[in-house]
């Protein structure tokens, strides 16, 4: 599997309280990789490390085969970025912003930029500083896309956008990715946002990678089980991972499990234990339970 982004043993101490610890990411080429985690878990710090804005204390970073920070300009030439906050020159008009950005990218697509300007309903003469939040997001995406990158790194690109703008932005992004086969790493703390279009997911918490796997595996392996008379069960040899166990409903317990496969129902058929129900856990519940389990094991 070719990797578009790879980090190994990444360490970075941001403050006394917070550090990125031993982070090893592997983002496959062509993947739509959702980088998920609660606020303050280290997603933005990791992205800054990937983009050479911060220097790691230890570990290695490779972007599209280029070592970071040594070959940063070569990697950035093929990477479109939407940072966590607007970074455009406010005194330039939309057209001037495009002209400035174009000067740095040899593969800039002028025709598509004009088309996107029209479809995003951005006026070329409008000052960047006078754009609304949604318009600014569209302009930043336009700049990132029209440079024809092989990799897009988007830090909370949909944050605070209304549903209409969100749909426009997502449609343009998906159109580009399907045409170009580019890799996308998109960070968010909104699970449903990523669920819709990501095929890989990496979950971060407290500066560490909790899990990294294909979305289908993440979605399919997380189940809510209802089990009765389970008090006597020896959990040490369970073939799945129990993330949470709710005993509040008397003899019927509710379990949140990970790594579930249909044949595992056999494991319950003993000692009068009865598996009453196996239900899909939606991504948000799976995410919450995953973090809860991670934090419990962490403390």
């Amino acid at each position: 599997m070719t990797l578009a982004i790879q980090t190994q043993g990444l360490q970075y101490r941001a403050s006394r309280e917070f550090a990125i610890e031993n982070l090893s990411l592997a983002v496959p080429a062509g993947a739509l990789y959702g980088f998920l985690g609660p606020n303050g878990c280290g997603k933005t710090t990791t992205i800054r490390l990937l983009l050479g804005r911060l220097r790691p204390d230890a570990g290695t970073i490779t972007l599209l085969g280029h070592a970071i920070p040594e070959a940063l300009p070569a990697a950035l030439a093929r990477t479109g970025v939407i940072p966590d906050r607007p970074h455009l020159h406010r005194y330039l008009t939309v057209q001037e912003s495009l002209d400035f950005h174009r000067a740095f990218f040899t593969e800039w697509d002028t025709v598509w930029a004009t088309e996107l300007l029209a479809s995003f309903r951005l006026r070329p003469g409008q000052k960047a500083g006078g754009l609304s939040k949604g318009e600014t997001a569209k302009l930043m995406l336009l700049l990132a896309l029209c440079q024809k990158p092989d990799l897009l790194i988007l830090d909370e690109p949909m944050d605070g956008l209304d549903p209409v703008v969100r749909r426009d932005v997502l449609a343009a992004l998906l159109e580009y990715v399907s045409a170009r086969g580019a890799t996308v790493l998109v960070s968010s703390h909104l699970v449903h946002e990523l669920e819709r279009f990501c095929d890989w997911i990496g979950v971060m918490d407290r500066g560490r990678l909790v899990v990294e796997l294909p979305m289908s595996e993440f979605r399919g392996g997380n189940k809510r089980l209802r089990v009765s008379s389970a008090q006597s069960l020896d959990m040490t040899n369970a073939p799945f991972k129990v993330m949470a166990r709710d005993r509040s409903a008397g003899t019927v317990e509710t379990w949140m499990v990970r790594g579930w496969l249909p044949e595992m129902t056999n494991w319950f058929q003993r000692d009068g234990v009865m598996l009453r129900e196996v239900a899909d856990l939606d991504l948000e519940d799976g995410f919450v339970e995953l973090l809860r389990a991670f934090r419990t094991s962490d403390t």
Partner: protein, 216 residues
């Protein structure tokens, strides 16, 4: 790429460049014309008053250098230099282009002062022994601009963290100066340092000396 950088810098600062150029053109003319009427009859007084005007040349150079440096970096500082750091250009080259672009914006200011100095000193009908130095003054002004723009550019292009470190070093130096002064009143570290920097071959030497457009 250089042109794109120059274009955005011009866009950010063109009104400042024009205002500073007007000031630079007017300064020598105003200094000479205001005093010349009285100077016809009292040449020593005229030269003394002209010397007082000399204070405004390094001041204008300092203001111009600072304003242009602030003007070209203000937007980047507001965005914590993120845009610049995401461009696929080696940082040293990007900084060099920005510096060269900033210097180009200062050329009209230096030229305006030179033109103003030439205009101010033409047709004065000075007595024998008195000479005009429009080219030397303009050259000194340009050199001072270059020097001060370097300082201002370094300050404005640095990250907040770097500026913080510089301020802490300065604060530490001042604290040491006060401590030394308390222990040994005859030792003035601050004055010694300023003198070393401001006199030849110190880096701020061009700021000192006489800024005379007309002199004996």
């Amino acid at each position: 790429m250089q042109r794109a950088i120059l274009r955005i810098q011009w866009k950010a600062c063109w009104h400042l460049v024009i205002a500073l150029s007007v000031a630079a053109f007017a300064l020598p003319i105003v200094s000479v014309r205001l005093d010349w009427t009285a100077g016809r009859t009292n040449l020593p007084l005229f030269l003394t008053e002209l010397q007082l005007w000399g204070f405004f040349y390094p001041l204008l150079a300092g203001v111009a250098a600072l304003i242009i440096a602030v003007g070209i970096w203000m937007s980047d500082r507001r965005g914590q230099h993120v845009y610049a750091l995401l461009l696929p250009v080696p940082r040293w080259r990007y900084i060099l282009y920005r510096y060269a672009g900033g210097l180009l914006l200062l050329v009209p200011v230096a030229l305006a002062l030179w033109a103003g100095a030439v205009v101010a000193t033409s047709g004065l009908g000075l007595p024998p022994g008195i000479r005009v130095y429009p080219h030397a003054l303009a050259a000194k002004f340009a050199l001072t601009l270059l020097l001060l723009f370097g300082f201002a550019f370094a300050l404005m292009s640095a990250s907040s963290r770097t500026v913080g470190i510089a301020i802490r070093i300065l604060g530490l130096f001042l604290a040491v100066h006060v401590a030394v002064l308390l222990l040994s009143p005859s030792t003035n570290l601050l004055w010694t340092t300023v003198k070393a920097l401001g006199t030849s071959p110190g880096p701020l030497a061009p700021l000192g000396g006489r800024w005379m457009l007309i002199d004996a």
